[in-house]
Every structure is written in structure tokens, then in C-alpha cells.
Amino acid sequence: MKYPAEIYAKAFLGALQSSGREEERSVIKNFSSLLKKNGDLQNHEKISLEIEKLMSKKDGGIFVSIEVAKKAGAAVKKLAGLFSEKDVVKINILPELLAGARILINGEREFDFSFKRRLKDLFAK
């Protein structure tokens, strides 16, 4: 990646903010061609995620990443429902957690209720 995803995201949002509604299309088009020129098109998902994060932060929301061991069931959906509409909630399946869930807020505060953590703490005793 020529520039980190956060830089791209900041630049994109900055350009959107400084332009009018009628220029929105051209900003998106220019941004896409910039990604193509820099050879960073394959990283568009990362960049989109960063844009999403920044937008939710701007609106006063938080970015939540919920990691579960198995396919999301009713409990996970209930868990995801605890957050407001402003918040961005992503659910990932991570079999190595064995059971339970891990919640990461804004990429730096983590609540770890996974069985993997329980086992790890147990053997670290």
C-alpha cells in the first residue's frame, strides 16, 4: 500500500467535506482513479472500513468488532443489537476462539469472553 488506509480515508472524507453535493460524484471518481494509479485498488475494503470508522466517529458513534467462534446465532445478534445506529458493528467468525466472543471497541479496548482466553489464563496461573 502506498499510503496507509487511514490516510486514504482521511483524504477522501476531507475532499468530500470541502466539496459541494454536486461534486460528490467527481470526488468518488477521482478517488477511485487515485487508488488505481497507486495500485491500491485491492485494498479498497480496508479503506472503506476506515472511511466507515471515521464517519461513525464523526457522528459520535463507535466502531465495534465482535468476534465469535461459530456462525452468528441469536445471542450474537442480540449482542450486536445493544449498540446504537450510529455505531458501526462488524461480526467476524474466528474458530480459534473455541467458544464465546471477543468485543473490540474503537480498535483498542477489548472485552474478551472467549474460551480461548479462559484456557490461556487458566494455564498461565
Binding site: 473490540l104 474503537n106 483498542e108 472485552f111 489464563d121
Partner: protein, 510 residues
Amino acid sequence: MSYEILEKLRKEISGFKEEKGAREVGIVSEVGDGILRISGLSGALAQELLSVEAQSEEIPALAFNLEENFIGAVILGDGDKVRVGARVIKTGKVLSIKAGEEILGRVVDPLGRPLDGKGVIFSAKGGKDYFLERRAPSVIERESVSVPLHTGIKAIDAMIPIGRGQRELIIGDRQTGKTAIALDAILNQLQDEGRRKAVSIYVAIGQKNSKIAKTIAMLEERGAMKNTIVVSASASSPASLQYLAPFAGAAIGEYFMDSGMDAVIIYDDLSKHADAYRQLSLLLRRPPGREAYPGDIFYLHARLLERSAKLSKEKGGGSLTALPIIETKLGDVSSYIPTNVISITDGQIYLESGLFYQGVRPAVNVGLSVSRVGSAAQTKAMKKVAGKMRLELAQFRELAAFVQFSSDLDPDTKKKIARGELLTEILKQADLEPAPFEKAVVILYAALSGAMDNIPIPEAQSYASGLLDWLEKLHRDEILGAIRKSSDFTDEVEEKLKAAIKDYGISAKS
């Protein structure tokens, strides 16, 4: 049996109280070349030790770059096990190494792990933690250099004396005998009587493993290893460990200094250390400066070498003497790293490949070598005997240039040239054969007093060794012992030595 274990595990898990609070974590967003980029973990401190939760183990890393959105960290373990997405937690600690008497005679890596296969170094409660990065002793905690550190090399002990607590650079091209001088200094600590024995620490940075093994074997063979610690970060070690090696050595040295002992540390070499730091800095995307070294390369070596000191009596009176080594390219001492380290240290021993190939070994260029503080620490005996030697050699070098143009010289000039040639010959010394200072005093006295003026140059070395044998057998206590004990060259000893040299001359002729 397995059922019982499962039952126990179930019981343990059911009784296990889980910590429900959130923890602060970072996420590895990039990994490669021993470098991590970590997002999150905004409260991390510079130089803080981090723990990366890799697949099967926790791998330590060191926070290096604190940026707005990222932390740049260097991995201090197997980087191949770290994957993107791995959690990173702060430890609240800075890097430290365990030091104590038990570490003597051992070979360790910069993190204090034994490399010699002799098992664990410290018991569970043994050893004291010493920070790798530590503030150098302040002005009040220091004392002037006053006790000599004899290297066993006649040219150095006579003309470029090193004091305990001094920083003396050994500089020269490749294959000029820089390491040999440092190793001679280590060997000489065993035989230097009349002063406290200095503990030696040899830090090998970016050297071939075979060379390090050879050095350790030589030290073992000569019995010097029991008084030495080797910190090894070979060429195959990651740049992060090569960068940390001198700091680990300094931390071990500080333990001995703080314990009121004397230690000498050899950084072999700081050119490779600078290269390792450049590599780390460039990988961390720090802006490159001159010769692509980062802007703080001077500070890196200054803060390392500033930790060598002679402590005041209130602080225990210990000392840490540093002998950093720098390798020059084609004798160019004016390039970046050599000039930096020359300006940091209290003098330099300059080795010249030209002299080396002429057979002058150790190839010390006396004109370009200097010791800025060591003369205060030189023993009275050496000062009395070798005081005018530097001048005589300087005059010889000046006159030697004229010899090429004219063969018709006045007797005084001829005499000066002959004396210079004799001194140059006398100062030659075989590798790994350090000369005790009292023997150096005696030989230099014989050369400078004119007693050897009639000896042909090719026979000067054999005359000197014969004289030493003679003194060892017949005047061991009254001359050699007296100089060793008092570190002085009294008139009485001088008279006895004069007579002994005369007797030896008569017996050698017959």
C-alpha cells in the same frame, strides 16, 4: 486417569473468576523484516516492552516509534510467528537484563539468555535487574580518572595510557588488529597486579559466529573467560538484537561498577551497531540523514558511551572503562560514524594498515593516537621512563622523511634515527601476549637509557626477552617486584636496574 484430569479441569474452570473489565490492546496491522506496525494502544510509552499474542506463544517487542495512529515496534523474537490481527498488550516495563556475579564466564544474548549451553544463569531470586537504557552517572556522582587500566601493549601503556572509567576508541581499517588489542587488554587483566582486577565484558556485534566462537575458545584456553562475560549478537541475529547488544553489555558493566568493582567493556564494533540501527530506522520509516543514518545516531553512541565512568567514593568508587571499536574504510577517519565516535570518546588508538603490512604490530600510529585523560592515571614508573618517548618517536618520524633524500647526515640526526628505529622495534609485540607493565617499564628504560644503542635492530627483540629472563631469574623481587608493588621507579630501583643491565650485557657477550 484422563477422566480425572478432565474433572479437575472442569472444577478449575467453574471456580475460575473471570476479569470482566476491558483491557487496552493494539492490533498488528503490518509485520515484516522484524518490524511491527500496531494500531491502537495509544497509551504506550517510548521504549516500552510490549507483548504480542502470537499463535502459540507471546513474543516480546519494543515500542520504538509513537506516531499519531500507529506504533512502530521491533520484534525481539521469532517474527515469523506473528500474524496480522494479533493482539498486542503493554507490559508497563522497559527492557532490562539480569546481572550478578553468576553471569561471569557466560555467553549471553542481548536479552540475557544463555548461549553457551551451560544451563540457566540465575536462580529464581538471583541476579539484579538492570535497565538496558539508563541515565549515565551525573557530574556529582563521578570522579576524575586516576587508576590505570593496563592493556599489556607496550605502545599503548607507555604513550596512550588508559585510565579506569575512560572511553578510548580503537579505530582502523579491517584486518589491522583492532580486536587483538581489545583481547590483549582482557588477557592482561588477569596478570595486572597491584590494582583491583577488572571484569571484562566483550560485546560482539554483527560478527561471524565462527569468529565469536574462536574468541571464546581462546579466552577459555587462557583462563580469562572466568573473568569475562560475552554478549553476542552475531551477524545472523536480527538487527534489533544487534542494536540492543551494546546496551545489554553496558547494563552488565554498570552492575559491576555499582558494586564498587572495576569493569572494562569492549564494543566490537560500533560501525556494525550503527548499521543495525540504520536498518531499523529505515524500516521504521524514520527520515534518513547523512549516509542514510537517522538523525539521532550521534545521540545513540553518546548516551551509550556516557555510561562509562569512574564513580566517586560515595558511590562506591567503581568504574566502567569503554573500549569501543570502529572500522574505517580505506583509512578514512573523516567519515560520519568515525568522526562522531572520535568526538565522543576521550581519545583514540589509531591503527594503520600501512604499518601493519610493514610488520609494525600492533600497528599503532602514535602520531594520530591520543589519550586525553589517561596521563593522569599513568603509573609513576611508566611516566618517568616513557615520558619523552612520544617526543623521540615524533622526531624520528620527522627525520625519517629526510633519510630518503640524503645519506650524508650529521651524527646527532643519525643517533636520533637509530633510537627511533630501536624504539619502533621494541614496541613490536606478538598477538595475545600482553606484557606486564613492570616488564614494559624495564624494557623501555633499557631502550631509552642508551643501553641498547649498540644492539643491531634485528637482535633487539631477542636482547629484550633475554634481559627479561635475566631479571626474572636474578632480580625478580628487587627490580620487577619493587616496580610492580610501588608502581614507582625509584632512584634505588633505577641504580639496581642499571647494574643488572650492565651485568646482562657482559654475560651476553661472553
